[in-house]
C-alpha cells in the first residue's frame, strides 16, 4: 500500500492538485485563525458588552425616573406638610368656612364640629354642616372647601339634588388635619 501511494505521489498533476489544495487549505486556516476567529470573538465580546451597557442604561434610566418621581413625591409631600403645619385654631377653621359660605352664596342650616387630638400632636377637626342653595352654589362651595390653604378634605357628602331649579340641601362633613405646627411626621 505504501509503495502504491508513493507511486501515485510521483504523478505531477496529482501532486499539483495536492499542492493547490494544501495552499488553499493553509490559506483558509491562516485566515480562520488570523482574521475570522478573532473577528468573531470580537463581535461576540462587543455584543456581550453591548448587552451589559444596555442593561446599565436601563438601570440608569430607571434610577433617574425614580429620582424624578421621588422629587415629585417630595414636592407633593412638602405641599401637604406645609398645609398641615400651617398655624391654625378651631376658630380660624370655623371662620374660614363662614367665608366660603359667603363666597359661594349658600346658607348654613346646621353646623357641628369635633376636635380629635392624637398622641403624636396631630389633630383632626371635623365639621358637619348642612347647607342650602342652588346646585351651582353648593358645587362652588364644595370646590372652595377642597382647595383651602389648610389640609381640609371633604369626607362625606349627602346631597339630594331634587328638581333642577329648586333649592337643594347637602350635608357635608369636612375634616381638617393639622399640627404639629412647624414639624412633620
Amino acid at each position: 500500500m505504501k509503495q502504491q501511494i508513493l507511486r501515485y505521489l510521483q504523478v505531477p498533476h496529482l501532486v499539483l492538485s495536492i499542492l493547490i489544495f494544501s495552499c488553499i487549505a493553509t490559506l483558509l486556516t491562516v485566515l480562520w485563525l488570523g482574521l475570522w476567529a478573532p473577528m468573531q470573538a470580537k463581535y461576540e465580546r462587543f455584543n456581550r458588552e453591548g448587552l451589559s451597557l444596555r442593561q446599565d442604561l436601563m438601570t440608569s434610566r430607571n434610577r433617574i425616573a425614580m429620582t424624578d418621581q421621588a422629587a415629585t413625591t417630595e414636592a407633593a409631600l412638602a405641599k401637604l406638610d406645609a398645609k398641615r403645619a400651617k398655624p391654625t385654631t378651631q376658630a380660624d377653621l370655623i371662620a374660614e368656612i363662614g367665608i366660603l359660605v359667603q363666597r359661594s352664596d349658600v346658607a348654613i342650616l346646621h353646623s357641628d364640629n369635633l376636635l380629635e387630638q392624637q398622641a403624636d400632636g396631630i389633630s383632626w377637626f371635623r365639621q358637619d354642616i348642612t347647607i342650602e342653595g342652588s346646585y351651582a352654589a353648593i358645587r362652588y362651595f364644595l370646590q372652595l372647601a377642597g382647595s383651602t390653604d389648610h389640609l381640609t378634605l371633604i369626607e362625606q357628602v349627602d346631597w339630594v339634588t331634587g328638581k333642577a331649579n329648586a333649592a337643594q340641601k347637602a350635608r357635608i362633613r369636612l375634616a381638617t388635619l393639622f399640627g404639629p405646627q412647624g414639624g412633620d411626621q
Binding site: W32, Y43, S60, L142, I154, V157
Partner: protein, 458 residues
C-alpha cells in the same frame, strides 16, 4: 495533459531484456538493455525483477510513477492464438474477455483453466458475425510478470507477444511478417484488409539458429494459404544475414515482394514496445489509473474550499460591519451613561426612598390619599349625563372610596344609555367599577318615571 502519459516498454527475449522510456509526446527519453539468465522456454521469470532493478535505476524516477503505461513484450511462443467468430459479441470489455477466454479454451482444447486471454476485434458488421483474433498465455507467466514488476515498483498495463510490437502490416495488402531471432521465430499473416491472422511461433533450438527446413516449409504453407499474399517482411535479430537467405529465396520462388530488416540491439526492440500502444491483444486488462480521478476529486475539493473561502469572506465583511456598528452603539451608550452618571449622583439613597415611602403611607392612612375628590366626580357626571336624565341624589364617602347616585328619567332607554356611558367613563378615567344596585319604576300622575341607584367603587 491527461492522455500524455509516459510509456515504458519492456522487451524480454530468451537472453536479454530491454527497457525503453518514451515521453507522452512520443519522444524516446532513454533506452537500456541487459542480459539475463532466465529460462524463458520453461516459463521461468523469477529473475525478471533482479534483471530489471539495476536497469530501472539508470532511468529517471518518473519511470515508477503510477500513471506510466508499462507495456511488456514476451517471446511469441508463450502465446497461443486463434481466430474466432461470434454471432453476438458483448459490448462490455469484461464480458467479452470472459467469453473469448471460454471460446479460446474450447477451440484450442485446453483443459488447464489457468490461463489469461486477450483479443482484438478484426471484423465487425451490423448484420455479420464479429471476427476476433484471440490469444492466450499461461496464467503462471502473467502472474510471475506482474509479481516481478511489482518488486521493482511497476504495474504492467499490457502483456503481449513481441512480434505484435515489431511487425506492422502493409495497408490493405495481404502478406506476412516473419520474425527470426532472440530464441524464437514467428510468422504473422495479414489478410487483404490488413487484419492480423493467428500467428505461428516456435522456439529455436539455439538462440542464433538459422531457419530450419521444417520452418521454411511451414512458412511456405502459410503464405500459400493467405489469399493474394503479396509481401513477406523479414525482421531479424542476432543472426547472420546469410542465415535468412532461404527466406528470401522462398519469396522469390513465390513471386512476392520481400524486405529484410535487422534490429541492431535489443534496446531498439524495447523502444518499439514503448512506442506502440496496445490495441487490445494484451492478456491482462489495463489497470485503472486512479491518479486522474484522485486529482479530479482534489480539484473538486479545491473548488469547495474556494467556495467556503468566498462565503466566509462575505460573512467576515458582514460581521466586521456589524462589529463596527455595535462598537459605535456601545460608545454612544457609554457616553450616555457618562452623562447620566452626573444625574445619578443626585439620586436619593435607599434610606431617603424609605423615608419618603413611610411619609406617603402615613398620608394615605390619614387622608385616604388617592381617592378622587368629589369635584372630579361632579365634572365627570356633568359631562356623562344627558339632559333627559337627572341626578336626584348623591352620596359621597371618601374614606370608603365610593359614591352612590340616584338617577331618574322619564325614558328608560335614556337611563340605560346613561348608565352604560357612566360605566365606560368611570372605567376609562377613574379605573372605577360601576354597579347598578337598584332599579325602580314609579307612576306619577299617569307618567312613568324610571330610577337607577348606582354605586361607583374606586
Amino acid at each position: 495533459m491527461w492522455n500524455r502519459r509516459n510509456r515504458l516498454g519492456i522487451a524480454v527475449s530468451c537472453a536479454e531484456i530491454g527497457v525503453s522510456l518514451q515521453s507522452g509526446w512520443g519522444k524516446e527519453i532513454q533506452s537500456e538493455q541487459a542480459s539475463h539468465n532466465m529460462r524463458m522456454r520453461d516459463g521461468d521469470l523469477n529473475g525478471l525483477a533482479a534483471a530489471l532493478g539495476p536497469l530501472l535505476d539508470k532511468f529517471p524516477a518518473q519511470v515508477r510513477r503510477a500513471d506510466t503505461i508499462v507495456q511488456v513484450a514476451l517471446p511469441d511462443p508463450i502465446f497461443q492464438q486463434a481466430a474466432l467468430r461470434f454471432d453476438e459479441f458483448p459490448t462490455s470489455a469484461q464480458e467479452a474477455r470472459s467469453l473469448v477466454h471460454w471460446r479460446l479454451k474450447s477451440q484450442l482444447q485446453l483443459k488447464n483453466n489457468n490461463s489469461a486471454a486477450g483479443y482484438l476485434v478484426t471484423s465487425q458488421g451490423r448484420d455479420t458475425q464479429t471476427g476476433v483474433l484471440a490469444q492466450m498465455a499461461p496464467q503462471s507467466v502473467v502472474d510471475a510478470v506482474a509479481a516481478q514488476l511489482w518488486q521493482v515498483g511497476l504495474v504492467p498495463s499490457a502483456i503481449d507477444g513481441m512480434s505484435r510490437y515489431l511487425c506492422r502490416p502493409q495497408p490493405a495488402r495481404a502478406g506476412a511478417v516473419y520474425w527470426h531471432g532472440a530464441g524464437w521465430w514467428c510468422l504473422r499473416p495479414f489478410d487483404s484488409t490488413g487484419a492480423p491472422q493467428p500467428h505461428f511461433a516456435a522456439w529455436l533450438d539455439a538462440e542464433n539458429h538459422p531457419p530450419s527446413e521444417q520452418v521454411m516449409r511451414r512458412v511456405q504453407r502459410v503464405l500459400g494459404s493467405v489469399d493474394g499474399a503479396g509481401y513477406l517482411d523479414t525482421i531479424s535479430y542476432g543472426v547472420a544475414s546469410d542465415a535468412l537467405k532461404p527466406v528470401a529465396k522462398l519469396a522469390q520462388e513465390l513471386s512476392i515482394d520481400q524486405t529484410a530488416q535487422k534490429l541492431g540491439n535489443w534496446k531498439t526492440a524495447a523502444a518499439r514496445v514503448a512506442d506502440k500502444t496496445n490495441t487490445g491483444m494484451s492478456v491482462i486488462p489495463a489497470p485503472r489509473n486512479y491518479a486522474a480521478l484522485a486529482a479530479l476529486a482534489i480539484y473538486l475539493g479545491c473548488v469547495i474550499l474556494i467556495g467556503a473561502l468566498w462565503l466566509k469572506t462575505s460573512d467576515f465583511w458582514q460581521i466586521r460591519a456589524k462589529t463596527l456598528q455595535i462598537d459605535a452603539d456601545n460608545a454612544r451608550i457609554s457616553a450616555q451613561l457618562e452623562q447620566e452618571s452626573t444625574a445619578l449622583a443626585q439620586s436619593p439613597t435607599r434610606d431617603e426612598i424609605e423615608n419618603l415611602r413611610q411619609r406617603v403611607d402615613w398620608y394615605n392612612n390619614q387622608i385616604s390619599n388617592g381617592a378622587h375628590p368629589l369635584i372630579d366626580h361632579l365634572d365627570l357626571l356633568e359631562k356623562a349625563l344627558p339632559d333627559n336624565v337627572r341626578l336626584n341624589a348623591l352620596f359621597y364617602d371618601r374614606p370608603g372610596r365610593y359614591l352612590t347616585l340616584s338617577l331618574m328619567s322619564g325614558e328608560e332607554d335614556a337611563l340605560r344609555s346613561a348608565y352604560a356611558g357612566l360605566s365606560q367613563s368611570y372605567s376609562q378615567d377613574f379605573s372605577a367599577s360601576v354597579d347598578l344596585e337598584r332599579q325602580v319604576t314609579l307612576d306619577s300622575s299617569g307618567a312613568r318615571i324610571y330610577q337607577y341607584d348606582v354605586r361607583i367603587s374606586e
